[in-house]
Symmetry: C3
Subunit: 455 residues, 3 copies
Amino acid sequence: MSFLGKNYLIRSHNGMKIFNAIKDLPIIDPHNHANVKEIAANRNYSDVWQLFAATDHYVWETLRKRGVDEEYITGNKSSRDKWLKLASVFPELIGNPVYEWLHLDLQRYLGVKHLIGPDTGELIWEEANAALAAPKRRPQALLKTIGVEAMCSTDDPIDLLEEHAEANRQIGRTLVRPTWRPDKAMNISAPGWREYMTKVAERFNITLNSVSDLIRAMRMSHDYFAANNCVASDHGVEVAPDITANVSDADAGFKKALKGKVLQPNEIAAFKGYFFAKIASFNAEKDWVFQLHLGAVRDVRDSLWETLGADSGGDICDHFQDHLSPLKYFLNRFDGRLKVVLYCLDPGHQPLLATLSRAFGEKVRLGSAWWLCDHPIGMRRQLEYIGAVDVLANFAGMVSDSRKLLSYGSRFEMFRRVLADVLGEMADNGQAPLSPLQDLAITMAYRGPKRFFNL
Amino acid sequence: MSFLGKNYLIRSHNGMKIFNAIKDLPIIDPHNHANVKEIAANRNYSDVWQLFAATDHYVWETLRKRGVDEEYITGNKSSRDKWLKLASVFPELIGNPVYEWLHLDLQRYLGVKHLIGPDTGELIWEEANAALAAPKRRPQALLKTIGVEAMCSTDDPIDLLEEHAEANRQIGRTLVRPTWRPDKAMNISAPGWREYMTKVAERFNITLNSVSDLIRAMRMSHDYFAANNCVASDHGVEVAPDITANVSDADAGFKKALKGKVLQPNEIAAFKGYFFAKIASFNAEKDWVFQLHLGAVRDVRDSLWETLGADSGGDICDHFQDHLSPLKYFLNRFDGRLKVVLYCLDPGHQPLLATLSRAFGEKVRLGSAWWLCDHPIGMRRQLEYIGAVDVLANFAGMVSDSRKLLSYGSRFEMFRRVLADVLGEMADNGQAPLSPLQDLAITMAYRGPKRFFNL
Amino acid sequence: MSFLGKNYLIRSHNGMKIFNAIKDLPIIDPHNHANVKEIAANRNYSDVWQLFAATDHYVWETLRKRGVDEEYITGNKSSRDKWLKLASVFPELIGNPVYEWLHLDLQRYLGVKHLIGPDTGELIWEEANAALAAPKRRPQALLKTIGVEAMCSTDDPIDLLEEHAEANRQIGRTLVRPTWRPDKAMNISAPGWREYMTKVAERFNITLNSVSDLIRAMRMSHDYFAANNCVASDHGVEVAPDITANVSDADAGFKKALKGKVLQPNEIAAFKGYFFAKIASFNAEKDWVFQLHLGAVRDVRDSLWETLGADSGGDICDHFQDHLSPLKYFLNRFDGRLKVVLYCLDPGHQPLLATLSRAFGEKVRLGSAWWLCDHPIGMRRQLEYIGAVDVLANFAGMVSDSRKLLSYGSRFEMFRRVLADVLGEMADNGQAPLSPLQDLAITMAYRGPKRFFNL
């Protein structure tokens, strides 16, 4: 089989028949980190490094593993030098999805067929940059080429969402939606939280004297987002907060933190738990989806954190986390009235989350293989397992989770191929007939998420 | 390959050759939840919902995931209405083993070949019910059709086992055996424990003044079960109790609980640990198998628990459990003199349990992929892994774990096909010759469990 | 496919093409438990039991599982009786890698093609022993046949390494290198530690009054090993020590232990943490690799431990271990200046370790599937997963970890075949072109480890 060819990732005729039923469906991407400003501005990309690697810590981490110096990754070298350095080690990245993604981006969307390597770096630099200069490679045109029907970026509650409005105005329909992500407000013990509170107060013209004031501001933001096409919130936590906390403990912690004092772990927990339950109740009222990204231990590599800050690498998963205790309270409190998506980072947590999803009925769903699991083997193992324990038709759907626009194409293609292959194997094995498997694939790839997220 | 056809779940010629060596072997099912009364009464089943779904929370959970209202699951709707509702969503359950099991039941034992779906619900209702009305579809005839040689139901120590005797009398040999499951006596902190103690006292005509009295009653029950063809006990625990507890602490807890007082965690633990070790020693004396079902966290969904009680759904697994600490004491205490089967619920615990099995020699064995792992991918992954760490020939054998009589056929067929496929792959890979693999398959599917359980 | 035939473990043409690119590369084995005395003495092996089983607790554990009496395993029976007993149950070991390894040893290196079984035990005893008597079956000749270019045994800091020197002198080049394994010095609470301290004092002619004296002795040993071709240390721990300990706490514990007093857990931890960090800094200075074997819980079966002591069986893995807390400190402290190999025992820890490897850049690498994971399915699952999360080209390489000389051949063959199969599948799936996959295979099988370990 040829590299990224027609049968890429698909091992049987049944798999191809299923893939053919889904490959041209529009893209629904309910969670990504789109640069909406870039879409609204709709300017051509300057060069292939900017588009492929400049904002992508997935790429950065693999380059570091191959000994590339930081000045060629996040440092001061030119885009061209960085690209050539990337090309020089790129064949050594085989196995990591970055190798497939960048080649998919090149082949499928820029029409460049060369393998990235030390001998082709310059050539690709020329050809890809030339391709990027064409009008059809501007962000809005690319979204059309990729077939994006709806996508949800990730946004801060104080964001005015003006770029979303502008992008949709230019495009002529509601393509780009925001997602409400109040992590900054909840992370009461993080550096910068007080400064952020000041901004919240300004944004909503409210004095923050108590936790109830903050909840009121959040409510205003939540309403504002709803009026601006938002259908979901998103939350990143190592483990879910314990929502049995009461308002007076939360308020005490809030007031103490506002004064700049250091909180004790139980004070932090009380605030977070109370806050978390409150905003979940907002979602329940509006029938928004509550997206929960569980398990990421961030910034464990001090040398990166100290020089580059967050979202630059050094993030890991950890099996040794107690997710059940807090989730049990949370899922019971909102049972039957809150749509929840559970995203799993450590594969060892998948059985807990899948059986919780199974236990809590229609509204609780498993999200796609996330981040460090977002590759063919991670997606395959997840789909095989959750199908057997949970119900595949309830899958919350693929999300790109990406900062990079072309990922809405290449990551979805990878997912749809793996999905087709897994379901095709079920047909091969005589576990289900082909026709309802094709129908299931359409549900999982398009209809299901569209309905669940109200898109 | 056709749905559930000749090659169902088997991918190679070697796999088929292995399957042919085991497919017609009698069924040994050392752990199920048979309704023995139903077997003794030997009446035709009223309808296909009663047989397939009315007692099966595996089915219930999948229907809930697809948004079926509870009145069509455990509620007051008629069997016909419930069946038609099930049929209306059934194609959406593809991937979950329920989809395969019910079709296997229909095709293999009722001769109904239609796919269950919204357009065939009525037709199947008619055809399957007509099939069920035939004399050859009565419980005892079905057991013969399925080829059950021996099976062990799950019974309470105060049970008189009269239905077991009656069923065997009618069948003309010892087909149905009881399993001694004293969980109710051990769960000292559960609602209803005191009432249960009253029943124990009555059953064995004994006054329960101390924990030793209870142990004496348990001993009488254990002897009674032994005289009634029992060969094994069964125990369901989140984690095994700590058996280092002493009799005086256990007795203090017992007396306090008898008075209706609430026990502290350490008091509960002392009682359970002492009780557990005592009954294990009974098994050791009689060479019974001690079956240990580890890891199930039950009834986490309050809304189900409050309305429907136990065994109605809402059960999960959890990676974050310390199984080693208590098992180390337990397995050492009874090393070399107690036959133990370890059933694993969370796949993440499999390596610990498999290496413990490896470490503790011939008498400690791994049970088949249990409950939330009882599906083709769960069985496959378990067999692949435990074969490599432990020794496949020591596998404790498949059990249906089912309340449903037809499951003794369909679940065993699924297992034997997966087993044949896994071993066939070893032949394909040149890891072992075909002939000893066929022999190993016979050991795993029949000879081994028969010998280990003394059946 | 024939048993252990040309295509053994390899399922596709691409896999064979990759295997052909690596099968004849020299063996680099940076971690084993070679009996260097045996190599230096270079005498013929007395018999096949001695070579295959007498020192191998992998074999012992499988025999115990099949009910073989200990007198035929580690007891007083003759080698011949032991071998015949092994043969009588050997077909029952199918699935366990021991079945494949022993047949590989026989076929590939002794030219004996019979299947081991009850009917062939005597025949193989005769033929294999005759083969072993030939000059070409002496240790040094076998190392040449196998193609070992470099190997690292595991040695105690007080070892004089005279046999290494003698073996290399005879061979005419530096083939056998030592590895510095100071576990005995670190295990301050283990029986025999004080006696061991006496030996350390004698060996380095130093009085041990404080922990600094011990560190000084270790430094002398480290230097001595370096002068004798050592390139790596090795450390076996359940979880890594907490290196935040300070010197005064470590010293207090050291002095207390020297007096024969029992240490508290915090005192043990302080000593171990300080010691661990100190020796890691030695490695950093010399650019040695720091090999960390994580997670083994040893000697859990009391009956074995009490009669046979360490390394006789009864060792397990356990999911419920917190590896992140101590590793976070350790990897940050030595970030960028220490080459580390992480060996994972419980498959559930692999995601943590793989993402840590990903996070900490070029110098931190994952070791090959270790011990209870060292079999085709363990290697396959590890390679599939770490490729997707980490970078395959950074793999630390296969090690035999074996006491048995033929394992340097048979275990490496198994690894190379699995590697070829996994990478071949990537070619089949269109995930990468064949040619760079062949190149990657060469890097993973030979070039990479050679460079990383400075061999």
